[in-house]
Amino acid sequence: MAQILTRNVSDPAQRELSTALRSSAYLGLRQALTLPPHEVVAEIEASGLRGRGGAGFPTGRKWSFIHAQAGQPVYLLCNADESEPGTFKDHYLIERDPHLVLEGVAIAAYAIGAHRAYIYMRGEYTGVAETLGRALAEAIEARIIGPNCMNSGYDLSIAIQLGAGAYICGEETGLIQSLEGRRAYPRVRPPFPAVHGFLQEPTVVNNVETLACVARIMAEGAQAFSDLGTGRSTGTKLISVSGAVERPGVYEVEMGYPLMELLEHEAGGIRHGRKLKGVIPGGTSVPILTADEAAPLTIDYESMQGAGTMLGSGGMIVFDEETSMPHALLRIAEFYAHESCGECTPCREGTGWMAWVLRRLLAGEGRPGDLDLLLRVGGNIEGRTICGLGDAAVQPVRSFIHKFRAEFEALLPAAAPREPDWQRHGHGPRTGRFGPPAEEAARSQAVDGPPTAAL
């Protein structure tokens, strides 16, 4: 398999600068600093690199949107928040090759004209941040990063910021808000971060893996990178395989690699010799694939899109035949309900509502029409929210119900539903569909008296 990013991960000493330098670390940065920034941008554009965080937006294009006025500060934010369930590639990469990430950060910052870069890591990665912090200190010591990087006259300072536990901080504007010391409420676009980002200044937010690719591209040339892969998906992709496989872990595959090949060989096949039931190819925010759908697919943006799903963050979650899909979906729905930041209406109310209905369904209190209700609620969230979390929460719900509908329908009550309590209590019967129960009719008689008056 093609190894670009994971070439040196097996050596624990790679975290130390001396070892890393021997394996050509910071070669790409040295190369980049000899070029004017716009040529670095052009090189990345030529490589066809697309963002590895989930959306797959061309990285070079993103950089080219930065048009800072003279003297205006520009910021590079490295998104190491990695909170997408089933994704742990950034964790793996930073822990094992921190200098590669730092190099990518420095190159990107140089390319967009930023002199300050932040690496925002999720709060759970405190230990990983320490590794990265040590690497950064070494790089600064060696005058690779800092004022006058590598004697090029370019100044850069990098800070590592740890989060404190919120999925939404992985959304680029949420990350910016969090970094500014605000509630990580994503911002409405326009204006885009490239115009008004961190501190209202032009800002680029890039994923860790993207920046690692940047480092390699600058060291080895855009051509070498774009030779790998297929079509508009160039290079390699880190795939985090987890769930019902024998050997979960991070695997680097060339774009276009057969999906089943990865599961069967690298990941050791399905656990306990069971059969594959479904696989989520890119973190919980993308639609699930059934075993049949997954069989012919290759790992690249176009192939996934053709199958109605997305490569996303490359967090591949594998479900075996024993898995109860409604229970799994509830777990995912609860995740989104818990992590919805609560800023915009559809996501705030809709994610909680979907989780509620699923919980009710699994508790045996489902009502006819609940599946349609779930789909309708999902439809009302999708495309109506500020950030992508809303859409992300809908994808699993919709695809699970569509593709495993029988399992969900088995949960629905066979007979007509019990009329909900609130029709009878508290607010009085207001519809003419149901008569009063016998004991209440008796009481009614007592209150209203016999048809003739007393006295």
Binding site: D448, A453, A454
Partner: protein
């Protein structure tokens, strides 16, 4: 304007002629059939159509719209939350409400003054229809009398609308959704069922 003479009957002429006297009397008797039948029933059968009011009283429909009742909750507090819907809808503008804040965490708000000027009330029942909580219903009390006109005597306040003995005597009257029992609304003196759980 000329009309056909044949269609005009001269009544006086007809009476004087005396030819139709028998048929005229028969017609009169036929018209009095009900009266006569009742006369016979009352005198011979002693079945009275009139009653000796006020010693005797007529039963009225359960939907009768009599003097209002303010209902209360199981704990005895007024059900009314002073939402002003009855005051708003009242076409005679005879309802006056003043609200106060109460410490009950469930309701927050209750009337400090609730007055229906019954001398202006037209007993249309709109107030009862407007009430979202059956806090205001009507009774079957119909014999509302006072020694003078005006709000001093016929403006009923909270006490009269909840406590007056006539409520128990006449019973509850009109309210919307009569086909259902009252929900969590009670009349004075009504036994309150023990709370569940």
């Amino acid at each position: 304007m000329a009309r056909k003479a044949s269609r005009v009957v001269d009544v006086r002429q007809a009476a004087e002629s005396g030819r139709d006297i028998l048929s005229s009397t028969a017609g009169t008797l036929a018209g009095m059939e009900v009266t006569l039948r009742n006369m016979v029933r009352a005198t011979v059968g002693r079945q009275h159509v009139t009653i000796q009011y006020p010693e005797q009283r007529k039963p009225y429909s359960r939907r009768f719209r009599g003097v209002h009742i303010l209902t209360h909750r199981a704990d005895g507090s007024l059900k009314c939350t002073a939402c002003y819907l009855c005051e708003t809808v009242c076409p005679a503008q005879c309802i006056t409400i003043e609200a106060k804040e109460v410490q009950d965490p469930r309701v927050e708000k209750a009337p400090s003054r609730y007055e229906i000027d019954l001398s202006r009330c037209i007993f249309c029942g709109f107030c009862v229809e407007a009430c979202p909580e059956e806090a205001l219903i009507m009774s079957r009390e119909y014999d509302l009398t006072a020694l003078s006109r005006g709000p001093e005597t016929l403006a009923y306040g909270i006490d009269q609308l909840t406590q007056r003995p006539e409520i128990a005597a006449y019973g509850a009257g009109f309210r919307p959704h009569m086909q259902y029992p009252l929900v969590e609304s009670y009349l004075p003196g009504e036994p309150i069922p023990p709370r569940e759980g």
